[in-house]
Amino acid sequence: MTSGNEMQIDVDRRDDLVVASPVGEIDLARSPSLRSRLGELLGEKPPRLIIDLSKVPYMDSSGVATLVEALQVSRSKNSTLVLAGMQDRVRSVFEIARLDTVFTIVADTATAIRDGS
């Protein structure tokens, strides 16, 4: 089986920010695809990268690890990384991993854009 591993990630570029919106469950099969795409986007050194998680109903530790790595890369490039629209189930994983205070997490993408998070 090789199909279904590519994560759909919609990208919206605006002025000084990039909004990346992965769609679907993020697990060991799909996190490499997410990691690769986020790496590309961070390579553009956007001042802000907002990851819209509103269409991600499930994430396991491989997805969390991917976002931790993205956070570290963003800091090294002086980019601000924001997680937006996190569903309760996904937020729970971040809470259990005690990462909810490590990331900047906002209610939705509109809030992130408006507040300049």
């Binding site: 089986m1 090789t2 279904g4 591993n5 679907g24 469950e25 697990d27 060991l28 099969a29 109903p57 499930y58 396991d60 530790s61 491989s62 969390v64 690890a65 991917t66 931790v68 790595e69 570290q72 569903q87 309760d88 189930r89 996904v90 729970s92 994983v93 809470e95 259990i96 991993a97 005690r98 990462l99 490590v102």
Partner: protein, 180 residues
Amino acid sequence: MAGMGGSPSGGRTGHREAGMSDAPSLMRLELVSQPELLAPVRAMLTSLSERLGFDEVETGHLALAVDEALANVIRHGYDGATDGRIWISARVVDEPTRRLQIEIEDQGRQIDPAMIRPRDLDDVRPGGLGVHLMREVTDSCEFERRTPAGMRLVLEKSIPTSRSPGRRDNKAGTPENGTP
């Protein structure tokens, strides 16, 4: 995917492993070590858990725990090889308390169970969270070496005597089609 062909447990007609119950399996699966199979296994576990009376939160936790266990086997037990064998069985144990027991076996690399520990969460870095998540969302999470090869993990979670629909917090792990 069904069946236990090749499983050294052999359907548990032989000796009993430590911590395992005599209760018959509700479900047995054999799968290969391909990440693509995590999603269908989560869906199956979710459906089984719901039928057993777990609420939405606990169902999600069980799916997450099994997902993390399988991911560990694929990544560490089989080093990412996609032709390794993994066996999953689920049973209900009634004594001393009613609980769902999920056993995951493989033929991959063995490791001293004492070395399988959650990492320090204050050390923020990618990876190493799987064991912590498994322990947090289950009542019991026990690793042991299998004979002659591989590892065995037994996860347990108490089955609620009644549903508690009021609990809406901490919803990790429900597959994408499980959103109410």
